[in-house]
Symmetry: D2
Subunit: 107 residues, 4 copies
């Protein structure tokens, strides 16, 4: 970010820095946090139930989109990377990806 | 609506105050807001993608549970209330409840 | 169906005959049954996985739509009817409707 | 992989034959087809709506499980295989896998 930051703390080489366009995810998550706060306020102010439900569907959709984006990044970087490296790692990577997908689908 | 209707039949004096145990919903939504903030931090710190996905599934589940609780309250109070009163109101109430359910199911 | 059928075979008074436009549901379910048979054949013939998944999403969507339609009918007839009759019945009806909704949402 | 492997590593000679334990999928899909037929009969016989919804949730769950199993096979065979082979193919494979996952999650 600045010349005073010589190291790259979350680079590819250490950490999991595979998330493409991190700033965009962070902005979306900031918005989701605001939506959650908004739902709290709606309940507190006795907003009409159907309007609260609409907001909950919106935030759930937004979270699903973030999850699907992260999963796509994960398949591209971690899973494909492990497959290229070969070895047993790829099986473990695919197993945990499949479990994460199942949690998203079943909810 | 008219001078002949002095009372508000389906509310606790103001708002739609039909939510049972509001304090409990507010506590759950506070927790959800904290979870959303946590996911933002996880992305910012390059947490392992699968762990972020697990958190997103948890928050989505929690939001679904809040929605299902609110919907149950809504059916009990608004829809059943409108049905007891008779008239065209109940049809409109059921239509909007069905639309809200569809948004939750389809997501 | 014919002049020889003077009675209403699936009326409110016997059976649960509340389903509006039953012929349309039956046609949709016939189509869904055919889709299920089609997926069986695709797996049997080693069709490309992604194409099978597309078909599964289509059938799941179609089933969700049938479920949402039936639920809407149920709210209109059984739940609203029980509310008009008053008594404890309506609470039980709403509880079972809410449980059915939860199963659809959580899946 | 090596000269000692004369056969075709990612297929069963024709089709996409990557589905592990095909007989088990076929049996599950036969059962799902029977469930679909059962729902048709339930509607035809004016079965109580909530019981029909329970069956629809069961079949949707069963379909999701088939889809998640096929997707896992797909990641293991097609996606990991393409990654090992290298080249542009893997990107296309991951894109279509991600799109299929999105359809399952959003429904």
């Amino acid at each position: 970010m600045s010349a005073a930051t010589p190291s790259t703390p979350h680079s590819e080489s250490h950490g999991h820095g595979y998330i493409s366009d991190k700033a965009r995810y962070l902005a979306r998550l900031k918005r989701i946090e605001g939506q959650a706060r908004g739902i709290h306020r709606m309940v507190d102010e006795d907003t009409y139930c159907i309007d609260i439900l609409t907001q909950i569907s919106a935030i759930t959709s937004a979270l699903n989109n973030v999850a699907l984006g992260l999963l796509d990044d994960h398949l591209k970087h971690c899973v494909a990377g492990a497959a290229q490296d070969g070895g047993a790692e790829v099986e473990a990577k695919i197993r945990e990806a499949s479990e994460a997908i199942a949690r998203l689908v079943r909810k």
